[in-house]
Symmetry: C2
Subunit: 339 residues, 2 copies
């Protein structure tokens, strides 16, 4: 049985979306059990309205909620009874619990995970690794997308190793093609960080490094994993998602601007809905935090049930694929580069 905690508060559609996503995940995976954290009275009332496998779901009372306005370091210290911190502490203390899914504050989650849960052996810093859909129907992972705004070359190498194992374990990508995010494709491009990282990545045998990638090629399908510092990774992911969303909005607005366009759109209804669904992050789960000693998945704040279910699936597959031991086994080979 794989046991995963779902933090039921802190998201835009909490707790309903979190509860529904948990129940959907339980229906898909028979060896999964879930602990819901949050206000017990509310969770009990919500569960009473639904049908669910009662033997594989339990509630842990945690009446407080960490908001975006809470400073992460204060939040983890002062809000010990929050749905997120209760989850983090259980993850730390209970060996039978494998992972945590949360749609709450990223900052509090990263800080809480780092300070309370700690890292796998050999990991310098855990990193976020969300995935985006590519134009050829595949996916691409981006590591790091924001956990570390300042990095060093050996950290980028670790992101490449951990991200490769993640793409293989959770998505079945064989020998993931790893690229380094840079301002040009030539080896000598970029700042000192990128030049040094390029050399390190080139000599790392356990990964399939294919060179530098310019951000415009992220969705091209030519890469399975892009390695970057958390600052530019954050810029990359959010601008890609933002541009896609703005264009869809523009398309919609334009269609509604003239009757003839509305008529045309009727013929293309399925196509537009397919495109919308293709670009909907809800279908791709959350940002997993790779490198912590237990599995942590951060869902979008605006996650609905489907996204939560995907986040739980990510955590489940990471645990089922024994990602922790696999990362530790690989990293030890390169431990002379550690801080």
């Amino acid at each position: 049985m794989i046991k995963i905690i779902v933090d039921c508060f802190g998201g835009d559609h909490s707790p309903d979306a979190n509860i529904d996503g948990a129940i959907d995940a339980l229906q898909r995976f028979e060896d999964l059990s879930i602990i819901l954290t949050g206000d017990e009275a509310i969770l009990k009332a919500k569960l009473a309205e639904r049908s669910y496998p009662a033997d594989r779901i339990e509630i842990v009372h945690a009446p407080e909620v960490i908001g975006c306005e809470d400073k992460p370091t204060d939040a983890i210290r002062l809000k010990r009874n929050s749905s997120m911190m209760k989850g983090i502490m259980m993850l730390r203390d209970d060996d039978s619990v494998a992972g945590l899914v949360s749609t709450g504050s990223s900052g509090a989650l990263v800080t809480g995970a780092l300070i309370r849960i700690g890292r796998l052996a050999g990991v310098i810093r855990p990193a976020f690794c969300p995935v985006l859909p590519t134009m050829d129907g595949g996916i691409v992972g981006i590591c790091d997308s924001g956990a570390n705004v300042e990095v060093k070359p050996d950290m980028l190498r670790q992101f490449a190793i951990m991200g490769s194992i993640y793409m293989e374990t959770v998505y079945g990508v064989k020998k993931p093609r790893v690229a380094l995010l840079n301002v040009g494709v030539e080896a000598e491009k970029g700042d000192t960080l990128r030049q040094e990282a390029y050399k390190l990545l080139e000599e790392t045998e356990c990964i399939n490094f294919v060179g530098n990638m310019e951000s415009r090629d992220l969705l091209s399908g030519k890469y399975d994993l892009v390695v970057c510092d958390g600052f530019s990774g954050n810029v990359l992911v959010k601008s890609t998602e933002g541009t896609a969303l703005e264009l869809l909005k523009m398309l919609k607005k334009n269609i509604f601007s003239r009757t003839i366009y509305k008529i045309g759109a009727l013929f293309m209804k399925k196509m537009f809905s397919d495109m919308k669904s293709f670009m909907d992050y809800q279908n791709y789960g959350g940002s997993v935090l790779i490198g912590t000693s237990k599995v942590v998945v951060k869902g979008h704040g605006s996650s609905k049930a489907k996204a939560i279910e995907k986040c739980i699936e990510q955590a489940y597959r990471m645990e089922a694929g024994a990602i922790g031991p696999r990362i530790e086994t690989e990293l030890v080979k390169y431990s002379h580069y550690e801080e």
Copy 2:
């Protein structure tokens, strides 16, 4: 008369696009004159096929071409007879020449401009400032988009000042709303560079600083100028352009996948063509290099005549608006922050 050099080689559609763009610009601006650099025989033959205002166009022979494979420092030293380097040297030596437009190698252009032309008084480092269309029909400038992969807080402040003057001079934007690219909107977000830059920008009276911006909001229309280091600026611009292009390609591919979609698309032909044109960078000119002592504009390598014409317009308006003296006047007020 405002005299501008057009480097006629080094672009994907050179020299035809460059020549056509130059002629179109001459027709729009009566006090503009143009010097074409490149192989004289080729340029003469091309001009002979066209009608143009002969009294305002001249050719300067430069038989060599700098390619993307040329290392910038070698290119500027060894290819003195290239269309780009001839242009740069004329810009430096001839007081009557105001600016240079080139679609050749960015690296060679930046290096050549820095070493041969030099900076305006007070400028630490010149920066690229392309503009992109926003969803409300406006534009947004991004400074720096790649000239400086490593920056310091006082450089970011200078990008804000120079970029503001540029947006006002060339596009008539009053009191441009300036944002700092960051991983979140709160003042304390990001690395030390961002935190220090935030404070500097806040206390700079001559700009209209409105706070941090997340990359997903670039096209929202809420900002007129985004300030960033050249690495993340490059990631931002290329991922925005790349995502837009990939989505358009996907839309096209989907439409052609089924007859019913093709029928629907017939009703929406004008809408799709408007959207394509809206997102076509050819309509927004090139990346101007702000902070060099004379005007330098870098066009996309794939620029067609329309884009070249826009690049020339940008150079023309920068000179007509006396952007150099205006930048020097503002920067001197903050010179205690210079290196």
